[in-house]
């Protein structure tokens, strides 16, 4: 390992501009003649639009246009789509209702766009939006998925009877029922996975620029996957053909999934720019972000786990109702199905598994992937029920897990996934050591002497990352392939540009991707630039989500580097009059093995571009591209142990210890990986302890629409984390990488709730475990 190579704790190259305020975000983009959009949004959760009167607004100072959904349809702009087809168990395709970028006849959640004002300034646009008179006829509202399925519930879309989008299953129902029937012990639970609002630091924004001279569009947007945005806007929304649409996602301040999707606003900005002849920018304010960003989670689940007389797991049965909100967002259907139920086996040998998932429309913001996307929901139910079973069986929860671990790989689960590698015992042991698990009873007694209830809880998670391979996801209904592309350009003076289809919105790609080049050629990372986020620069890419930039994105770079290396060696061999198999590259030089004959890297590059002296028939230049399509998902796994002290007088929980032992496979930059784990755990603690989304069930108003009521985790809510890693290499990709972006958010909530329920001696506790809820549980 060099000082800047694979495995080095290299400081992040991009941080200088971020921490000095020099980042370039979408809202920093200013172009000549640019105007501002403000959306008129529905104050009702469900209503018919009788009429929209914009006559007063149109006459206001600075107003250029007030546009509506009918005009959009007239201009041929299509409806928003869900890009993953799921079939119900009866074989019928999912019942998808129409989602128009601007509502025309009916609004279905508070925040649904009904018109857009374009004006000279943001304030003028906002003033005029208030003057748009919309005549609504209120309709009855339903916000909870379980209620929405009932007969007589308000109906959102004619396509979805009883608001049911699909009724899907996985696994073997008969075998599972039989195993439960013959079990020595069955643990049953109802599990609620609370709805979360993502809250990236940078709110969403879009700038649409139509160039009439070229009949060409440019869209700056806060996207995790600009190429997918271009593809979808071109192929489905008829904004413009791909060659006439450039999408740029510049610096993006956090996404956590919420910036994967193509939202109405960026489509509207592009369309409005053509319609008005001026560039149109929109920047979400925080309230809009609460109302109209895609939310996460929101499951209600009944689960049963069966054991034989020796405490071996024999079956798992899961019945989930998932709330998808008012419309099906881009990947919403995949989250509670293939990203969720395929992980039901966890780290355990469970011979029979069956899962049933019903997804439901309600009058709430659309729900889609949020950090972990289905995997936190799977881990939460599994690790809660395993812990609960251990309590019922009166065995140590660590031992019940250990006894049931999968130990032989590859392991084919009953729910599609085939785990390639892992050592669950190793991470369990590492976590138990780090947490001094054996010393807990003494710590509990000491806390008791101070009047505190101390509890310990653990969670052994597994996730599927690097979402792929294309053929497999295609057969499961994905509308896109999930490979990645890369191009490595060696310039004439030897510096390197890496073009990648991955997108960095906080992950540190400018550093870690450069470390790959350093590791291969010995060039300082300062001489390596990473280019991403622009469809005009990078040919094609699938973007960043599901912890795929390492396992998939970096693998594509490795393949391109292989090709560059091969050609560089050919050139060097020619220059040094040696055989190319004798050439080795290190420290910025190409050497003939066992001799002192060398050619500096920059000279080899110059030779490639002067082309004065290249091997016969070789093309000039040094630039190679690659597409990489993995053979399998990757399977990061680990063990988290949390220790809490509850104040019985107030119900307030203090996290006094948090240990994470993760197996991410090969690690490129441990500092960045630790940062990912820290952030993930913070979000997981947010879900478990603090963040609760609340809609008024009668009116559908979002009650937690600001930081006055929605509790984001703050520094003083969090302990210092003890993080460590174990390593089993991932056989599925050339670097052996598994991925680390979501683990913290997946593994931490059950560990925390297991710890609190252990502390208070009551098992019935829903997230977020606010002081009030914990206190109430203690009274019961």
């Amino acid at each position: 390992m060099g000082v800047e190579g694979i495995g080095a704790r290299v400081a992040r190259k991009e941080d200088k501009r971020f921490i000095t305020g020099k980042g370039r975000y979408t809202d920093d983009m200013v172009v000549v003649g640019m105007k501002h959009a403000h959306f008129v949004r529905s104050p009702y959760a469900h209503a018919k639009i009788r009429s929209i009167d914009a006559s007063a607004a149109e006459k206001m100072l600075g107003v250029i246009a007030v546009l509506n959904g009918k005009q959009m349809t007239e201009d041929g702009i299509g409806n928003l789509i869900c890009g993953w087809m799921i079939h119900s168990k009866d074989g019928s395709p999912m019942n998808m209702g129409a989602w128009r970028p601007i509502a025309q006849d009916t609004v279905r959640y508070v925040g649904d766009a009904v018109a857009v004002v374009v004006a000279d300034t943001k304030a003028q646009a906002r003033d005029a939006a208030e003057a748009v008179v919309v005549d609504y006829e209120e309709l009855p509202v339903v916000t909870e998925a379980v209620q929405a399925l009932k007969d007589g519930a308000p109906q959102l879309h004619p396509e979805a009877k009883n608001n049911l989008i699909f009724d899907w299953e996985i696994g073997d129902a008969a075998a599972t029922d039989a195993a439960i029937k013959s079990a020595a012990h069955v643990t049953k639970m109802k599990i609620v996975n609370n709805r979360l609002i993502p809250n990236p630091m940078e709110p969403r924004a879009a700038l649409g620029i139509y160039d009439e001279a070229e009949d060409h569009y440019t869209c700056y947007t806060t996207s995790q996957n600009p190429h997918v945005a271009r593809l979808v806007m071109s192929a489905f929304y008829n904004v413009a053909p791909e060659n006439k649409l450039r999408v740029i996602a510049p610096d993006v301040g956090g996404g956590f999934g919420s910036k994967i999707y193509i939202y109405p606003e960026e489509i509207v900005c592009l369309w409005a720019s053509k319609r008005t002849g001026v560039p149109v920018k929109w920047n979400s304010d925080r309230t809009e972000a609460f109302l109209a960003d895609a939310h996460g989670r929101d499951h209600v689940t009944e689960v049963e786990m069966a054991f034989d007389a020796d405490n071996n797991m024999t079956a798992l049965k899961v019945d989930t109702i998932a709330n998808l909100g008012a419309y099906m967002s881009l990947f919403s259907s995949s989250v509670p199905t293939y990203l969720y139920a395929t992980l039901f086996s966890g780290q355990y040998k469970i011979p029979a598994i069956h899962g049933n998932v019903r997804t439901v429309y309600t009058n709430t913001a659309p729900v889609d992937a949020y950090r972990g996307a289905g995997r936190p929901e799977a881990t939460y139910l599994l690790e809660r029920i395993v812990e609960t079973a251990a309590r019922e069986l009166n065995v140590d929860p660590a031992e019940l897990r250990r006894q049931n671990f999968i130990r032989e790989f590859p392991y084919q689960t009953p729910v599609i996934m085939c785990y390639d590698a892992g050592d669950y015992e190793a991470s369990l042991e590492a976590a138990m050591q780090a947490a001094d698990y054996k010393g807990f009873p003494a710590r509990r007694d000491e806390a008791e002497s101070r009047g505190k209830l101390r509890g310990i809880g653990m969670s052994c998670y597994i996730e599927a990352c690097g979402i792929a391979p294309s053929q497999a996801v295609g057969s499961l209904g994905a509308g896109v392939g999930l490979w990645e592309s890369a191009e490595v350009r060696v310039n004439a003076v030897g510096t390197v540009e890496v073009l990648t289809g991955s997108h960095s919105h906080g992950q540190g790609h400018e550093t870690t991707f450069a470390q790959l080049v350093n590791d291969r050629f010995g060039l300082p990372i300062d001489q390596v630039s990473i280019v991403h986020g622009d469809t005009d620069k990078v040919q094609m890419g699938m973007g960043t989500y599901g912890s795929r930039s390492g396992a998939v994105g970096m693998s594509a770079i490795v393949k391109a580097l292989d090709k560059v290396e091969a050609k560089a060696k050919k050139i060097a061999a020619h220059l040094l009059e040696a055989d190319e198999s004798d050439i080795e590259i290190s420290g910025g030089e190409l050497k003939v093995k066992g001799t002192d004959k060398t050619v500096p890297w920059f000279q080899m590059a110059l030779a490639a571009y002067t082309a004065h002296n290249l091997p016969d028939g070789m093309e000039p230049g040094l630039k190679e591209g690659a597409f990489y399509d993995p053979t399998n998902f990757t399977f990061p796994a680990g063990c988290y142990i949390c220790e809490v002290e509850v104040d019985p007088d107030t119900g307030k929980t203090e996290i006094v210890q948090f240990v994470a032992a993760d197996d991410f496979g090969k690690i490129i930059n441990p500092m960045i990986v630790e940062g990912q784990v820290h952030g993930g755990i913070a979000q997981g603690i947010g879900q478990a302890l603090l963040e609760g989304t609340s809609y008024d069930p009668e009116t559908g108003q979002l009650l937690t629409a600001s930081y006055m009521d929605y509790t984001m985790p703050r520094a003083d809510d969090l302990p210092s984390f003890k993080v460590s890693t174990t390593e089993t290499a991932c056989p599925g990709n050339p670097l052996g990488i598994k991925g680390c972006g979501e683990a913290g958010a997946i593994g931490s909530p059950p560990a925390l709730i297991n710890a609190i329920t252990n502390a208070i001696g009551k098992n019935d506790l829903t997230m977020p475990a606010t002081p009030q809820k914990v206190w109430a549980a203690l009274q019961g």
């Binding site: 603090l690 930081y707 009521d709 009030q772 206190w775």
Partner: protein
């Protein structure tokens, strides 16, 4: 924010002349400005009171404390003179909001707004403070009339807060996890004459209030243990998504005990 006209008067008289039904006095702006930014308030004029000398300054004469209305929470929190005679009060001021809020927000602005989750009203009720306005002097009981309601009339402004420091004082609050305002805060004090004051913030459906049952329990024995046996009636307490009336009733007792322990 809608357009508004900003004024910076140099005297109380000048400020009062600028007042109108559509205008608002601006002090630290920690509630008013965010409300205006959200377009939930739209005063035609903002009359900035922070540059009026008569509203500034803290003086402590023996046990008598006088705090100018435009004093910031930070000035109060760091006043050695107040701390020497009433440490519970400076502790309370030092735990309002966060440093940015404490450096901008003022005691006059806070009590004129009378947010039910604000800290000062509970202390001023417990201390039997008086509130001086540009036209009269009111007791705290007279001044605080309900949630976000005070006895202030149109154009009337708070100029100072005064109280006699007690022998003992303490404050304990349980913060709302999201807003970090007091979900329940209890200020306790014991005067040299043995009189006891207990003010409760953040819990009452009609704003801050005194707790007679806690006052009488502490009057005979100013110790946390004296509150063990009492029970707080949840009727009249607030219920919201963060805390039920029953939970707040529990917190009043728990915070009351902690405040007494702090008071020593």
């Amino acid at each position: 924010m809608y357009a508004t006209t900003y004024h910076r008067p140099a005297s109380v008289d000048e400020a009062v002349k600028l007042a109108s039904e559509e205008a608002k006095y601006l002090s630290g702006g920690q509630t008013l400005l965010p409300t205006m930014k959200q377009r939930l308030a739209a005063p035609s004029d903002l009359i900035d009171l922070r540059h009026i000398d008569a509203l500034k300054g803290i003086s402590v004469d023996g046990k008598h404390v006088r705090i100018g209305a435009a004093c910031t929470h930070n000035e109060i929190a760091n006043s050695d003179a107040i701390s020497a005679v009433c440490p519970g009060f400076t502790y309370l001021a030092g735990h309002i909001g966060d440093p940015a809020v404490r450096h901008m927000g003022t005691i006059g602005g806070s009590i004129a707004n009378n947010d039910p989750a604000a800290d000062y009203p509970a202390a001023l009720l417990a201390l039997g403070a008086t509130i001086t306005t540009n036209s009269r002097t009111l007791s705290a009981e007279e001044f605080f009339t309900g949630m976000f309601e005070t006895a202030l009339e149109e154009g009337e402004m708070v100029t100072a807060v005064e109280f006699d420091a007690p022998e003992k004082s303490g404050y304990a609050k349980f913060r709302n996890p999201a807003s970090r305002y007091a979900m329940t805060g209890v200020f306790v004090c014991k005067g040299a004459d043995g009189s006891v004051g207990v003010g409760v913030a953040g819990a009452g459906a009609d704003g801050a209030f005194r707790s007679p049952e806690m006052e009488s329990a502490l009057a005979s024995n100013f110790a946390a243990s004296a509150l063990e046996g009492i029970s707080i009636d949840p009727s009249g307490l607030m219920t919201d998504m963060h805390a039920s009336a029953e939970y707040r009733a529990n917190l009043i007792k728990v915070m009351g005990k902690r405040a007494v322990e702090q008071a020593g």
